[in-house]
Point group: C2
Chain length 504, copies 2
């Protein structure tokens, strides 16, 4: 028996336990080979990665230190005694080993893997083993079983209504902030569209980051319910809603490994939507040379897989392939994107036309789900709602219901303009490069940081004219971003990259 000690270290997503090298109750070396221990606190049991401490002030020889994650998940109090044991064999790992050797997994095996992952019983290396073995190949039925298992393992929202619509983009296109226009249009029409979004992880802004410029997004489940009852919609951060928790754990390994397979994307998106209680989904797949999907053929294969899985999950899905050749709108970064969104909702003549057109397209497709809307009339109905000001009014209602933002943010005061080095026509914009520069400038951490595009593909430019403006809030970020942009700015004129660097 060891006494629990809280160790204020955040080792997200892993559980970490600290044992003294001079631990009397157990010999840490015994556990060290596998670096994993099981901790038992009454009826509650967690697995944790073991760290050996040589600092008696951190953990004494009759104590066990628990990092923030382990402490919270075990639900122990300081000073309480717990028991540690060798971790029991996890049969689901045997299934992963068979998968590594080329086997196909059964539904039950996939469910067991996902249950273990959601319960934090897999270490990152074990998660990587599952992801990589699945990346080699997955049958469509394995994808379906994975989706079902991921849906079932967490909470599920249930809305007492026959139609709950949603809209999702597979991502990769900076500035593609259509949800914040689509949701008010659709809700103003009368459909329910409760939207939970993510914060940016590797991009310069997620919908939750951008919405947070305008309103509070950090809502608990019951607050969300109340906003939806009031407005038929919401635009909140999904972090407080425990939907498809295995997905969050998988992403914490997929992201650093840059594993982004079609199969895992489909399971991730469909499981979240199914758990959120959506019945109808419009899915935006941007296709372009620097987008996530780079050819029409890839897009078609992805579309079919989405349809196969969604059909069997009982989710009506409409896939829209959109132009992913360049960023959408002018702003990249929360404040600049929120400005574009509000300009579209206000029918401001300077509002970016591409963002408006895209939002209308997607909103129109959602409205077509409504049996009351005449086939083919969705887009016109969406335009009618937007032009009438009803969408803006709905957005104001949603903002009012969610509450004021945590801080008033404005565009970063440090600015630098990237100038064209020659006359010509803008022929390409690299989504990936621009996102990276915007991130270096400070987005999404600094809401006002990012890029303001002054030219888009097709625009003529004259030598010396600015292509875009970098905004930063801090000098060090500003310098980083400027240096990278001067090297290669992500814009091509007449087919030639602008910039001084090798990449240009």
């Amino acid at each position: 028996m060891l006494k629990v000690r809280f160790v204020a270290l955040d080792t997200y997503p892993e559980n970490t336990a600290f044992l003294s090298r001079t631990c009397t109750a157990y010999r840490p070396e015994e556990f060290q080979a596998l670096r994993k221990i099981e901790i038992v606190n009454g009826g509650k049991t967690i697995l944790a990665t073991l760290v050996i401490s040589d600092d008696p002030s951190l953990v004494a020889s009759d104590e066990i230190g628990l990092g923030s994650q382990a402490f919270r998940r075990l639900g122990a109090r300081e000073g309480e005694t717990v028991r540690i044991t060798q971790p029991p064999p996890r049969p689901s790992l045997d299934a992963v080993r068979r998968k590594i050797n080329g086997a196909t997994m059964t539904d039950a095996e996939i469910a067991a893997v996902i249950a273990d992952i959601a319960a934090h019983r897999y270490s990152p290396m074990e998660i990587a083993a599952f992801l990589v073995s699945s990346a080699a190949f997955m049958t469509t039925d394995e994808v379906l079983a994975l989706t079902r298992a991921m849906t079932d393992v967490g909470e599920k929202l249930s809305w007492d209504m026959p139609m709950v619509v949603d809209k999702h983009c597979i991502g990769g296109i900076p500035g593609n902030r259509t949800s914040m226009i689509v949701a008010p249009i659709v809700a103003a029409h009368g459909l329910y569209m409760p939207k939970t979004s993510s914060r940016a992880i590797t991009s310069p802004a997620g919908t939750a980051d951008t919405m947070e410029v305008l309103a509070r997004v950090d809502l608990a489940m019951d607050e969300m319910m109340s906003v939806v009852r009031k407005t038929k919609s919401c635009l909140i951060w999904g972090g407080h809603v425990n939907l498809s928790p295995a997905d969050d754990v998988l992403i914490s390994v997929e992201r650093p490994l840059h594993i982004d397979t079609r199969e895992q994307m489909v399971a991730s998106i469909i499981s979240k939507k199914a758990a959120a209680g959506s019945t109808h989904l419009v899915l935006d797949i941007p296709v372009g040379p620097t987008a996530k999907v780079r050819s029409g053929m890839d897009a078609a294969r992805l579309k079919k897989l989405f349809e196969y899985v969604a059909d069997r999950m009982g989710l009506t899905v409409d896939i829209v392939m959109t132009d992913g050749a360049q960023p959408v709108g002018r702003g990249i970064g929360p404040v600049l994107e929120a400005r574009d969104v509000m300009a579209v909702l206000r029918n401001d003549p300077v509002a970016p036309g591409d963002l408006r057109a895209r939002a209308l397209l997607l909103a129109g497709r959602i409205l077509e789900f409504d049996p009351q809307v005449r086939g083919g009339a969705g887009r016109a109905r969406a335009e009618e709602i937007l032009d009438s000001g009803a969408a803006l009014a709905k957005m104001e209602e949603i903002i009012e219901a969610q509450g004021p933002p945590p801080e008033i943010a404005c565009a970063g005061g440090l600015t630098h303009e990237l100038k064209a080095s020659r006359d010509g026509i803008v022929t390409a914009m690299d989504c990936f490069r621009l996102a990276r520069i915007a991130r270096l400038a400070g987005a999404p951490m600094d809401k006002g940081a990012g890029i303001d595009l002054l030219k888009k593909v097709g625009d003529p430019v004259v030598k010396g004219e600015p292509l875009y403006r970098i905004h930063s809030c801090f000098k060090s970020d500003f310098d980083f971003a400027n240096r990278m942009a001067e090297e290669s700015c992500g814009v091509s004129i007449d087919g030639r990259h602008e910039g001084k660097g090798e990449a240009a």
Copy 2:
């Protein structure tokens, strides 16, 4: 710039860095997405996994804490200032990603992966991604490139002599401690056989653990050289000799994942031998129903792969397939195995005949490498050396040269005998199960713990006769081991498992 603070936490094999959540110089959240930072100390750079600290007494906001591994590898002093940055892209990871997608890796890509792994620039999850993607398939040329890269990345021993012999067993058979008999025979004959061995990781004893019962094994490189000059041999722990360092890192992930592919086994073994300067190698592949290799066909494929790679690495290899149906000798665990080894060397009539026969077989095959030995006469020459007492004298010489063991160990005083439940003939022994019971009993940590086999396959038994005896040094281990043995003891009589449990 952040001030270095030593944090006495052992996170082997990973580098770990601790930043305060209130860190002023950088914002930890910025790094947290990837959980990895690069730390620059003058010319020295390491990658480390980031842990966020909420404990100001552990690391202040202008400090960076470094765990034992990171502190040592960065070579920083406390209070010194270092710089942290986003980790640079590692192009070798792109090659791993291509491998995940089914590509074959080039020699240069494999070399880059191994260089990064050896320099601790891969996290466990990244290592797992490489291992699992390689487990799906590897061409023989990839295995060769991997072997070469692993050999080249560490130190290499060079012996100023035309023939340096070695002997290796792929493992899995408890008690198979032939090296400690083969090395003295071969050295007594006059060949050089410097033997570095591992300690047990998941088995109840490694050769280094067993040899440590008799002599010091913890020798530095120059001490080893001096022992070899004096005796033509040595039997030491390889931990101080930085041969094939990537192998050690790979093993730290293969082990918990139980990934043990043919390809990785070949690269691991051949790279260690090539780096150790061996010119001739006899390789023991035990084949049996509970051994690592379970069929003659698997053994043949493994043999061919070993030969292909060894030939191209310029290493002469002779593969010997041996009987892997049951443990070798009587003892399992360091003290009990050392007793068997010394009994064979002393030509004691009670010495286990199977251990003696096996050692003579392998020593004979090594002696055949000597051009002076007439073809086919190796085994007889080995027997002559053993019977004459020359091997025992050589062993005493080696022990004398290496120095006395750190402690005098004897068989554990807590003993329990497993009794036959029926009359019959012992028909099978489960190597895996027996190893597990011996480990639970305390081996190899407690040198005197383990199992002493009183019956072997083919022996007749009468109901109530002991099959084997468990030795332990501590009550808790003793109880664990007894419980597991009573459940299913790993011995079959007339084709039926002995024990009360389901597995029996």
